[in-house]
Amino acid sequence: MRRTLFEGLTHRPLTEAPPRADDEALGELARQFDRAARRRLGRSLSIREVDAGSCNGCELEIHALNNAFYDLERFGLRFVASPRHADVLLVTGPVTKNMREALERTYHATPDPKWVVAVGDCAFDGGIFSGSYAVTGGVSKVVPVDLHIRGCPPSPNEILKGLIALLEHVSEKTAVS
């Protein structure tokens, strides 16, 4: 173990340069925010992930955000275990009818100011599961969504672009007023 730890000090880190914030995302976010809320949070956001019935593909790519290449925490973004500790809900899945109440409760348990990011094509409008008796058909049908990140699943880079846009918007680094 000592050797592995020591190598961590001498080898170049694997962390890659971050992608630029997604312009479309900035556009969507520009419509949403209250400046005072943005100022309160500084440059850090706590995220609670909610799987509202996804196939687990989006979860895998969200997990990847924590690996050495993408290293989410260097941006001040981190995952928390309770919605009560969260600023952001990261929601995947078409919102199965079985998860609707749980998603609503989680949303209401998250203190203001909060943002909701819907990840994946299913979270956008139910995706390939749209029309099923068991599916609501998109996160925005259940709670207000501030940002959609499309993909099946979106790659970690694509998710990161969206989250960086969120962060920049929240902390007022963006030129958009």
């Binding site: 996804s54 687990n56 997990h63 899945g93 079985n98 749980a102 390939i128 029309g131």
Partner: protein, 504 residues
């Protein structure tokens, strides 16, 4: 040892069903088969409902040793069938699901509570009569518990960190878990209902999204079922490419799991380094197959895209990277006493339970069950390749880690062989037939996936997808008993059952 078909005293063979026999039986024969399965003379592979002019139940069984598979089908014109669960506990949840989805009543079934139907749909029996759901539904009751100083801990469906939704009702005496009862179904999307009437292409896309971490395995199982139903052979190069993708998927998941299990014991250095290995595999997959998870790359008839010119070299370089880094991580896992203290003797699955449930994958193989669908019954190209199936007996978290470690080693040699011997030629063919029934049975990373399909006019009449987790989730309840609550994440991760694959 009698052949599997001999335990089915009598039945009308369905000629259109391939590659294994399907027999339509009477209730008396159904009961006889159930007794044989309960006595351990065959393993339950699947149990599912169906509907055409009448409703049906189908039971798939396998002889663990010879690998013979058979399906028995019982018509249920009166809406009921002799319970399998009454004699054979592994069937209980499957029957509860049949009842909730089809409205078919298991006669003598020990558990009448719904499964997958949590009371939120606007309809009931969605795959059967699909009538409007009643306004008032009885509240769900967990199993009663008696004893001194016991308390309940409800966990989920929103739980842990980045994970699928499920509910876990713990009863604890102090820190010790006296019982765990799961309630699943939160990820139920009605996949089988969406598949009914769908084109083969759309159904393949749905199958690929049943359980995202096993998209290749599900893709292959669905493809096998369709190819068997329509009696057409896939070109050899396609079989090799499918296996290559399947082994990359196995590697990526095992790296992720080994790291995540250690992380749940707070040993994050393993998680960090295993995460690097997983990422390397996914990046190789993206360059070679156009998608990190290789979703929609396996299609009925072959594969969607060929390996690029530098693909083999890229994969070899990825393997070299893995071979350099992985052994040191294994050593780290093995030599860290505080980590071993958490994983050894924790979450033990008894060998007799593993056998009774036909526990698929590493859950079974860590508890002495020597079974891997790539060998038994086996399918091309694995019959031409050289690999071993690791089996351990301790049945604890540590054993489930070690089985994965050994399977990583086997997957590495399999990938080398696949690249070395990759046939040239086309990567896909098209069928002539449009009607038939087939079964696909494939070893995904967490265990065997069963897919049953009925086709007509090039469309899917009915498709059933059976995730290995149906026979692993209940064993988690058994494994956690007597362990401390804090060891639940460790045990849960060592199983890594699918929620979405199970819930459909």
């Amino acid at each position: 040892m009698p052949a599997l078909i001999d335990i089915i005293p009598q039945g009308e063979r369905v000629d259109a069903h391939r590659p294994w026999p399907r027999l339509v039986v009477t209730p008396a024969v159904w009961r006889a088969v159930v007794s044989e399965v309960a006595a351990g003379r065959a393993t339950l592979l699947g149990l599912w409902g169906d509907a055409d002019a009448v409703r049906w139940v189908h039971m798939a069984i396998i002889d663990d040793g010879a690998g013979d598979i058979a399906v028995v089908s019982l018509a249920c014109p009166d809406g009921m069938f002799p319970s399998v669960g009454a004699l054979h506990p592994p069937a209980i949840r499957l029957e509860r699901a049949i009842r909730s989805l089809y409205g078919l009543e298991p006669i003598g079934g020990p558990d009448a509570r719904p499964w997958l139907d949590l009371g939120f749909w606007e309809v009931q029996h969605p795959l059967g009569a699909r009538t409007p759901a009643p306004a008032a539904r009885p509240a769900y009751s967990f199993l009663p518990v008696e004893g001194e100083s016991l308390h309940q801990i409800p966990v989920g469906p929103v739980h842990a960190g980045i994970i699928e939704p499920g509910h876990f009702r713990f009863t604890a005496g102090g820190e010790t878990v006296v019982r765990l009862e799961q309630r699943l179904g939160y990820a139920h999307k009605g996949i089988e209902s969406l598949m009914a009437g769908a084109s083969i292409e759309r159904a393949a896309r749905l199958a690929a999204r049943t359980s995202g971490d096993s998209t290749v395995a599900y893709g292959i199982a669905f493809a096998h079922a369709v190819e068997a139903a329509l009696s057409f052979e896939v070109p050899p190069r396609a079989r090799y490419l499918r296996a290559l993708m399947a082994e990359l998927e196995r590697l990526a998941n095992h790296f992720g799991d080994i790291g995540a299990i250690c992380n749940d014991a707070s040993f994050s250095i393993m998680h960090a380094h295993c995460g690097i290995l997983r990422e390397l595999v996914l990046r190789a997959a993206e360059v070679c197959f156009g998608h990190r998870l290789m979703m929609d790359r396996v299609i009925p008839g072959g594969v969607a895209a060929d390996l690029p010119a530098d693909g083999a070299a890229l994969i070899r370089s990825c393997l070299m990277n893995v071979r350099q880094r992985f052994p040191r991580l294994v050593e780290l896992y093995d030599n860290t006493a505080s980590l071993q203290d958490r994983t050894v003797a924790t979450g033990i699955v008894r060998a007799d339970l593993a056998r009774q449930f036909g526990a698929p994958g590493y859950v079974g193989r860590a508890s002495g069950r020597n079974f891997d669908a790539r060998k038994t019954p086996g399918y091309a190209p694995y019959d031409e390749l050289d690999f071993a199936v690791p089996v351990l007996t301790a049945g604890d978290v540590n054993a489930r880690v070690w089985v994965r470690i050994r399977e990583v080693e086997q997957s590495l040699t399999l990938i080398e062989q696949l690249i070395e011997r990759m046939p040239t030629g086309p990567i896909a063919t098209a069928p002539d037939a449009v009607t038939g029934e087939g079964l696909g049975f494939v070893e995904g990373f967490r265990g065997d996936v069963l897919v049953a399909v009925r086709l007509d006019g090039g469309r899917v009449l009915r498709c059933h997808l059976r995730d290995p987790s149906w026979f692993q989730w209940p064993l988690l309840e058994a494994a956690i008993e007597g362990n401390i609550v804090a060891d639940f994440p460790l045990c849960n991760k060592s199983f890594n059952c699918s929620y979405s694959g199970h819930d459909l």
